[in-house]
């Protein structure tokens, strides 16, 4: 019997796993995809929100502010890219000043540090590219940008290093509440990889979290996937703005953000559209076109330098707040459901909170040998010449360039494959190392990454996939079908 089983290896499940790995427990994470961070956690704005946005008193507000503080720390101990670049909410119409003031007050009651209202002059001095229509703005210095993949992967790797088991390609199909002969409760999980019995279940299944909740509880949840599309622009546009620029919601809609990413690209998004299919991450012509127009409201000289576009799905629960805690009529079943924005920011705080609940339920004690640090994959692109020389001395593969746009070497790719929870797919390599994330979008590196993966995994190149079963690249040899 498993002590704890977590459904979903997104940022929420991974952060919970990491906090649970401090305890003397058998923890298992089940993930239907071939890698961690394949759901919403891979497709979002990557903003570490400061916390002025959520309604005071909500779980969103509480975990956002706590999570923001934790990420500042964790980015160092777990070695993932994070930058405190500050957030700015722009008011683009005179009558909206009251909106900025309300946001300021809300932020203060949520306990957000350092908030300040910027008048036009100061705003333009800080961000010269901002539209001249801006009237005033709210400045939140603790807002930041993070690499959502590497944060999630860091949590998962550190959890695995501390004994948590991750079963990938394993889909949970059904959950049944059971009682054992001695009268204790447990849960039986039917998965694509067999039956798993577990004392505690943690439901961190993202857009599917209502499904699992509803299998065990009479108090139903209902999640609507809300799609958000993005444009990602070339690094040439990356220093157009320093802070993350939001727009104050107005009669024209919620607005989009224009932000540098932590890796130095420029990103514009998201749209907001409710969809039926919880797998519908397609982009649309209308969506992409509207993003450009809306982004240009914040930054008039938005360049047409898109290198890719993508979409993610917010897990919006009808109640509008996160649903976190042990389910009333299902003891031992803990929800981390409806985790829409600011879920990325909140994750480490949610992780600690949920681990606390589990600790109480199972009466677990702290491990003595918990490893609380993790080292990321070195980056030749970011290293100094001295660091580069040292890396190459450690393994000449660090001098063999695989991705020309982002300067990623064979050394980094081998590291990504051979580490804890290493990459098994081309996307897995991409998210861990940035190979293929640059302006040519795998045009150069694909044919170089696939052989490295095939060799390391001991399979033929035909077996290598982009992101999971069926996402193959190669269909046999030439002349096969003649």
């Amino acid at each position: 019997m498993q002590d704890v089983t977590i459904i979903g290896a997104g940022v929420t499940g991974s952060a919970i796993a990491r906090e649970l790995s401090r305890l003397d427990l058998d923890v298992l994470v089940l993930e239907k995809e071939s890698d961690v961070c394949e759901g919403t956690s891979k497709a979002n704005s990557g903003i570490v929100h400061s916390g002025y946005d959520a309604k005071p008193g909500t779980l969103k507000a509480k975990f956002n502010v706590e999570g923001n503080k934790l990420i500042h720390e964790l980015s160092k101990t777990l070695d993932f890219p994070f930058k405190e670049n500050g957030s700015i909410v722009l008011e683009l119409e005179e009558e909206g000043r009251a909106g900025i003031e309300a946001l300021y007050e809300r932020g203060k009651s949520n306990g957000v540090p350092g908030l300040r209202i910027l008048e036009k002059d100061e705003l333009l001095k800080m961000e010269p590219s901002v539209s001249s229509n801006a009237v005033c703005a709210l400045y939140a210095p603790t807002g930041g940008i993070v690499c959502p993949f590497n944060m999630t992967i860091a949590f998962a790797e550190n959890a695995a290093d501390n004994g948590v088991t991750f079963k990938l390609d394993t889909e949970v199909k059904n959950i049944e509440k059971k009682t054992s002969e001695d009268g204790t409760n447990y849960y039986r999980l039917e998965t694509s990889g067999g039956i798993i019995d577990t004392k505690v279940v943690i439901n961190a299944a993202g857009v599917y979290s209502d499904v699992f909740h509803n299998m065990v509880s009479e108090y139903k949840l209902h999640i609507t996937p809300r799609k958000g599309e993005y444009l990602l622009m070339d690094k040439m546009a990356g220093d157009l703005v320093k802070a993350t620029l939001f727009q104050l919601p107005s009669k024209l809609g919620k607005g989009v953000l224009v932000t540098p990413t932590v890796h130095g690209n420029l990103m514009v998004g998201p749209t907001a559209e409710e969809v039926e299919d919880p797998e519908d991450t397609s982009t649309s012509a209308e969506g992409l076109a509207s993003l450009f127009d809306k982004g240009a409201m914040s930054v008039e000289k938005l360049p047409r330098l898109t290198i890719t576009s993508f979409a993610g799905l917010r897990a919006h629960e009808d109640g509008g707040d996160f649903v976190i805690g042990e389910v009333k009529d299902a003891p031992g079943f803990i929800d981390a459901a409806g985790i829409e924005s600011p879920g990325l920011t909140a994750a480490p705080a949610v992780g600690a909170y949920v681990a606390g609940i589990v600790k109480d339920i199972l009466g677990a004690s702290e491990k003595k040998d918990f490893i609380d640090t993790r080292k990321g994959i070195p980056s030749m692109a970011l290293a100094s010449d001295e660091e580069r020389a040292a890396l190459i001395a450690s393994d000449p593969a660090y001098a063999h360039v695989i991705c020309r746009c982002e300067l990623v070497t064979e050394g980094e790719i081998k590291n990504a494959i051979n580490r804890t929870l290493g990459a098994r797919t081309v996307d897995g390599i991409k998210r861990r190392t940035r190979a293929g994330m640059g302006r040519c979008q795998t045009g150069f590196c694909l044919a170089r990454t696939i052989p490295l993966l095939a060799e390391a995994l001991g399979v033929d190149e035909e077996e290598i996939v982009k992101s999971g079963n069926g996402a193959y690249y190669i269909e046999g040899k030439i002349k096969d079908s003649l």
Binding site: I392, C440, A447, Y472, E475
Partner: protein
């Protein structure tokens, strides 16, 4: 102190880099070093196993590797040093305009090379899907045509079996034929523009001969498939290149190849601060193919995208020759400065400036037009005086055009002028 030295450093060992090196050596320059990141010389030609190369240079039809081999042989015969598997990651200028190139390879690690002159010959890359703003899913099975070419021609593997090609660039056209030969079904080639982006001969030999339809004024408006491509939707576009509702047709396929333009690979040039032409995405150069940074020359696809490798070789020879002259200290800039302006259908020119003191007896100016033109003329003016008017039956964006400036004629017009700057205008006229 740099780890190595070479008078002339050539970045890229494709046809441009090779021809530049051979020509610099012919000029008597001894100390040359070619840096190539691939495991062999030859550049993109290594994967172009079709024939059609060298018609101008050698008066015979060679395959890409055969064409490259002729230049590689010159490099070997002349014992010009080159380093393979070596990626240049930075170029900067040191004291006295000295060039410092930083590179790395698994054998020698990270190292710097000091040189007097540098030739940029890094080639180009293909425009990716994201830059085309094609909506839909993002599954496996979407390749640049060049990646597909690499798989088929170098690895002998099929990137897919049922193929739609977006963009009628030459690589896409060549791949339509190649994939068909190798057992794939190519359903169609869709092209956004009302004209093809590739050479006429490739449309005939690669599409018409295989009954592959070319859909002009069409584009992909949706991609279906969460893991692997399952199909694409193609729609007709109006004169503003916007899809026309109601014209959508779904094509079931497992592969989408993109052949929608090439972009010069100028990351290094940008870092060095070389001034770039936003039309070509290549450097602005003068008659010597020298960029805005003295002693840094550019040629081949990194300068502007060529359709024929023969022109690349010719251009690169000139760059090599001029770099050698620069190193000898012979590139005085007496004479007049002529700015070349392009208008009325002519999109850009290479070069954009001419220093008459350095002008060879005849100077080739290359350019492309922005639209398809029939029965028009190419007119060239110097300070308002017509230098030539060439009747042109057909001109198209897919085919590079050129004019030849004759030094004697230019001098005749400019002689005794006491203004130092002059202007040449190239335009399409009725």
């Amino acid at each position: 102190m740099a780890d190595r030295k070479a008078e002339l450093i050539i970045i890229g060992g494709g046809p441009a880099g090779l021809a530049a090196a051979a020509s610099a050596r012919k000029e008597g320059l001894q100390d040359i070093l070619i840096l190539e990141r691939d495991t062999r010389l030859g550049g993109i030609l290594n994967q172009c196993i079709h024939n059609g190369f060298g018609l101008h240079t050698f008066k015979e039809e060679l395959t890409g590797p055969e064409y490259a081999a002729r230049f590689i042989k010159q490099i070997e015969d002349e014992k010009i040093p080159y380093m393979l598997d070596t990626m240049v990651i930075d170029i900067s200028e040191g004291e006295g305009g000295i060039k410092i190139v930083t590179a790395m390879n698994p054998k020698e690690g990270l190292f710097t090379i000091e040189g007097k002159a540098v030739i940029l010959a890094m080639g180009c890359r293909e425009r990716p899907r994201g830059a085309l703003n094609i909506p839909g899913y993002r599954p496996a099975g979407i390749y640049s045509a060049g990646t597909a070419q690499y798989y088929v021609n170098i690895e002998g593997r099929m990137p897919g079996k049922k193929v739609v090609i977006l963009g009628s660039g030459d690589i896409g056209l060549i791949m339509a034929r190649r994939m068909t030969y190798e057992g794939a079904k190519v359903l169609c080639v869709a092209e956004l523009q009302p004209y093809s982006g590739g050479l006429k001969r490739n449309i005939v030999q690669c599409l018409d001969d295989f009954d592959i339809p070319l859909l002009l004024s069409h584009t992909v408006v949706d991609i279906k498939g969460k893991k692997r491509v399952e199909g694409v939707t193609i729609a007709e576009v109006d004169e503003n290149r916007k899809p026309i509702p109601g014209t959508e047709v779904f094509y079931e396929c497992d592969t989408l190849l993109l052949s929608c333009g090439l972009i010069p690979e100028n990351e290094l040039s940008n870092k060095l601060g070389v001034k770039m032409n936003p039309v070509t995405n290549g450097a602005f150069v003068n008659e010597s193919l020298e960029t805005s940074v003295p002693g840094v020359f550019a040629c081949g696809n990194v300068l502007h995208v060529h359709d024929l490798v023969d022109y690349v070789s010719g251009e690169a020879s000139l760059a090599g020759k001029n770099a050698a002259a620069y190193i000898r200290g012979e590139s005085g800039s007496d004479g007049y400065l002529i700015n070349i302006k392009t208008e009325n259908g002519v999109r850009y020119s290479v070069p954009t400036t001419v220093r008459t003191g350095n002008m060879p007896d005849t100077l080739t100016v290359r350019f492309r037009v922005g639209n398809e033109y029939r029965d028009t003329n190419l007119a060239v003016y110097l300070d308002g005086k017509q230098l030539m008017k060439l009747p042109k039956r057909v001109m198209a964006p897919g085919e590079m055009e050129q004019i030849i400036l004759v030094k004697a004629k230019v001098n005749e017009i400019l002689k005794d002028s006491d203004v130092s700057e002059h202007e040449i205008v190239i335009r399409v006229e009725d």
